[in-house]
Every structure is written in C-alpha cells, then in structure tokens.
Symmetry: C2
Subunit: 196 residues, 2 copies
C-alpha cells in the first residue's frame, strides 16, 4: 500500500466538538484575551477526528483539535514530581471541567527553547505553581500549532475537578495569568463545563 | 464564521509528492534503516496541501507532509552561528537535493527536553557537526509527529547543494549516523534528487 493511503488519525489526536450534543454541558464561555468562541449548549471530547458539525448542532457549533505530545519544558525532576502527585482524567467525582484554549505570540515562538524555558519556569514557575494544585486538578495538554491546518489556538488544556475544587482552580488560573509567561498570550478563552 | 469553518492549510505546511511529475527527478531511494519508500520518477515540493495522487502518478506514488516549526534544541548562541553561516533554499547552482525522512523511537519521545538536548548536542554535537557544512548545504526541517494524521515519519529534512558538494553531504550524513542520537532512529530513507 502506498504511504499516501495512510490516512488514519494520529492516535494522540483529540477533538473538542461544541454544539447541541455531547457528554459535557457548557456553563460559560468567557473571553480572557482576544476574540471569544461562539456560544453552544454542549461539548463532546472525542478521541480522534470529529465528524463535521451536523444540522442539529446549531449556528454556534465549533470544533477544536489538538494532539498530546512529548514533554517540552519540564526537567526530569519536575516530571517525577508531577507523575507522583497527579491523577488521571475520568475520575467519578470530578464532574466539573474546563477547556482553556490559548494562542501565544509570534515573538514567543521566535524564542529558542532555552529562552522559552526561562520564561516558563525560572521566571513564571509554571510547573511549580501547578504542582500545588495536584491531585485535585487533573489536566491534559493538547498541541494545535503543528497541525496541517491553520488553527485558531496553539494549545488546548482540558482540566477536570470536583465542584468543591473550583475555587482552587480559579486561584491556579489567577496565579498563572499574573506571570511573565502570560505576557506572551495573545488569545485565551475560558470554557467551564459540567458532566451529564 | 464559526471556528470549524477554518480549514485553511497551516502556512508552514509543505508536501513532498512523489509520482510521474514534479520539478525534481528522483535519482535514488535508499533505505538506511527500516522499510524503504516505493520508487517513483519525480518529486514535487509543494507549499501547502498536495492534492491526491492522480491517475498518471503511477503505483509508486506517495506523499509525505510536514510543518516547519519553532526551534527545539539550539541555544541562542548556536542559533546566531547558524543564521550567520547558512544560505536559503532555491539557490541557482544548488541543483542537487536530498529528502531524508526519519522516525525516532518511542523511548526518544519519552525523554524529557533536557535529556533529548543532552543526546542531541552534548553527546552527538548535531548542530556543531552541521555548522561545518555551511553554507554549502542548505536545509529545511519539517515536523510530522504532531499532525492530525498518523504519519510514517517524525521528520522530513530537505537539503539543497551543488553537485560538487555531494561528497561533503555524504560525509555530513556519515558523521551524524555514527552519533548516539542515531541509536534512537528507527526508520530512515535517503532520497537523492536532481532539479529539472
């Protein structure tokens, strides 16, 4: 079979499809920086490629896609600390979720790896801050910037937590948004959801 | 317009389409490690998405795709040295080209950034070796691993040089293939081409 026939989805691809259906009910879509996303009732988190929006999905329907990938910034020591403290997605009690799509500036992407790491951790303590909120806040990071299509965001981060941990989640976001790293964020939307 | 309608190609996407047509004549396709690619007469380097292979493209037709992206391993000092010494693609006298698709191991991708950098440069001197061959060898690196489709390779590197610089190009490859970094290469194909 010729290589060009290999059109299976990347096994690390996830699609976030907003519309009339989906396992998660959208409570709020809040623009943090830049343009917001259209309102929708529900969101489905799909492993792989989502089909095109259907008739019943309404005008506001949108789909964002991203792939999980290799580590970009954590050291081996930080990776060990994260692995020891974090819990996975899909916990029964974690009925709240947030999807936070982010786009960073061209200047950020023009930096070398060591410059980005310095802003990310030495100046902003991104992983250090996040560690304080484990295991309550579970997360999965998806990358969009190197897809074959032009995407509106560079990253999609999906968070799951219990309802009583939402104030802690809000504090986590407030801490991160004050950091030097966030000066490089050009667009950010904060989508809150409830399962069921 | 809903975000889901944004299906423009990534402006950093390039497609390498092999078949009966194309600006480059394929001289040889040599498997270095793992499965080879099917033979084809010619190759086209297309900015953006290539259309599907046509009737006249022959049985061996294949297309590989990748996106140029941000720096992963070079330090700021190495980046400056590269920028000062390198020349761009499309030089009149550079009538020879090579396309070298590479896939690295799952173990490589499981390493942290600092571990990969240590193998790439401190142990293997990848950038240091490459600098010796500038400006004769021009190159552009394309990433495939984080596309939405499952791709047969992680990287596609495209090189252009004058015919008299091909022995130097062969020495560059021989030097790199002896490094610890190459222990992580699972599949590699070496495709040589002539313009026109």
């Amino acid at each position: 079979m010729p290589e060009s026939a290999l059109t299976a989805p990347n096994p690390r691809l996830f699609s976030f499809r907003a519309g009339a259906e989906g396992a998660w009910r959208i409570r709020a879509i809040t623009p943090v920086r830049g343009d917001t996303l259209p309102p929708a009732d529900r969101l489905d988190l799909i492993s792989g490629e989502a089909g095109p929006a259907g008739e019943g999905d309404g005008l506001g329907a949108w789909t964002l896609r991203g792939v999980t990938s290799n580590e970009r910034y954590v050291t081996n020591d930080e990776k060990r600390k994260l692995a020891a403290a974090q819990e996975g997605l899909g916990r029964e009690a974690a009925t709240c979720a947030a999807l936070i799509p982010i786009k960073k500036s061209a200047a950020w992407w023009g930096l070398t790896q060591e410059q980005r790491r310095a802003v990310f951790e030495e100046q902003s303590r991104h992983t250090h801050i996040g560690l304080h909120y484990l295991p309550a806040i579970a997360r999965r990071l998806h990358h969009c910037r190197d897809l074959a299509t032009a995407e509106p965001f560079d990253f999609l981060t999906w968070f799951e937590f219990r309802p009583e941990d939402e104030p802690a989640f809000d504090r986590l976001l407030a801490e991160l948004r004050k950091t030097p790293e966030w000066a490089h964020v050009e667009r950010e939307t904060d989508i809150r959801l409830i399962r069921g």
